[in-house]
Amino acid sequence: MSGAARTELKIGFMPLLDCALLVVAHEVGMARQQGLALRLLRESSWANIRDRVAIGHFDAAQMLVPMVVAENLGLGHFKTPLVAPVALGTGGNAIIVSRELWQAMQSFGACAGAEPATQARALAEVVKRRAAAGEAQLTLAMVFPFSCHNYELRDWLVSGGVDPDRDVRLVVLPPPLLVDALRGGQVDGFCVGEPWNSLAVDAGIGVIAAVCSDVWPSPPEKVLGMRAGFAAENPDVVARLVRAIHGAAMWAADASNHEDLAQLLAQPRYVGAPARLMLAVLQGAIRHESGEPALLRPDFLKLGPSAIIPRTAYAELIHARMQRWGQVTGDTSGLDRARAGFLEDGFRSVLAAAGVQAP
């Protein structure tokens, strides 16, 4: 495609480790090979990402899987149908608690690397005792109302017998405020993605109580979302994007590239977190508490080809959680609209047409 004018695409992203495949496609050359010129635009909130995609400032953006479902169910402001032709990774979230809360949980059986339900039951004991002593409820934070963080945190709480709506206070907090909020005691825990867990553990102010890949197996996380209209009008561009991201996923899955990837992401215009912390995550070495040895968790965050399938099953999983927590009403009429947002068949045929074995 050299010589021919490349199609320019404006793509929004958040400074999170799982913007990696967009950065790789742009920096390592997979986008160029597909005749695409990506303009990666960093954003400061999920609400901005959603709005800028809806009004056309962005052609596509890194999105939370439940954002796509919410927009297609008409729960957003714009009610612009969205589609995800490819995913950008699975997992990477964890539940962090403050040192004080962790110490309290430890006296009820919590210990580093234990089953999530064991940790949650320890939390339930702390919650009970605080209530009995007339102390304020614990405040736990997540990143967005329509996020897997929200649902993973709720499922984890339920597994220990904690009612997320009655026994604790759940709030939204932007990750950049996490460290200060934990330190200052405004929040007692947080469900967040990387590099924020690693940063909080490294700073010695938070302890990982559970990794979300233990709460949900292969948890959906980010997709490349775009207006359904844009995808319908530009099938060729979408196919090239899918192939570029697939190339990036192959590259990112190769352990010999992890060091380079960590360095790329550490640049201030992308994630801007220390390369050594992100490298450890890419290698699956998860430190639960500062000063403790890291545990090997290769399934914690996945960026390889198997993690980029925009699975239709995501719609069912998320829709069920939205019903469970009262974000959508009881009927299932919206489920088809939610399913239509994940272009799993399209993904498979694009790769088949390119002679690539689907993951």
Partner: protein, 195 residues
């Protein structure tokens, strides 16, 4: 000027921009104004203040905190929605272009909010224009310093007059399709290397 009874809350980490908007709204008759600068516990603050309209800048990661208020939640007494008029999408596009977003309590009539949003858009734009002008002035100042230094180097090394030195820089800039300041920078870098 009719006094307006709506309670407005401005969330902006940029102190100067917030005060420009605050002043404009006061002049327009809005007396019940709160400017929030402390971003910790933002939701609590909003719940306590019970504003009718919230204006927030788009660079602010706390926009996601406000998103929580559309959810049926015991945290919030009054449900809040983003100010989006489906019939007139250009209004919301203009707001996002200008870098501001508005949230309103449910049931508030559109006409009562539109002028506030319009004012926020125009003040954000004016501020942006000011910022661009300021950046440009700063850049010109930096450029001039570079050019003066480069001229000095050329005058000393090539024994040229000031005018002559400047025309040399300008010609090199035109030939290389660069800015004069960029050429000046390379002259300075080269001189430092050869020191």
């Amino acid at each position: 000027m009719v006094e307006n009874s709506l309670r407005l809350l401005i969330v902006d980490q940029n102190v100067l921009r917030a005060s420009i908007l605050e002043e404009a709204l006061r002049e327009a008759g809005y007396r019940d104004l709160i400017v929030v600068r402390d971003m910790q516990n933002l939701l609590r603050r909003i719940v306590d203040e019970e504003p009718d309209v919230i204006l927030i800048d788009l660079e602010n990661p706390n926009r996601d905190v406000l998103e929580q208020m559309f959810q049926v939640s015991r945290v919030v007494r009054k449900p809040v929605a983003m100010f989006v008029d489906q019939a007139d999408r250009s209004s919301i596009e203009a707001a996002i272009d200008a870098g501001v977003s508005a949230y309103v309590v449910d049931g508030l009539r559109k006409e009562r909010v539109q002028s506030i949003v319009d004012m926020a858009i125009s003040r954000f734009r004016a501020f942006e224009k000011l910022r661009v002008e300021l950046d440009e002035t700063r850049r010109q100042l930096v450029d001039r310093k570079l050019i003066d230094r480069a001229k000095g180097i050329l005058m000393k090394q090539r024994r040229l007059s000031e005018d002559h030195a400047y025309s040399m820089l300008r010609k090199a800039a035109m030939d290389g399709n660069m800015r004069v300041a960029e050429v000046a920078q390379s002259v300075i870098t080269a001189a430092e290397l050869l020191k």
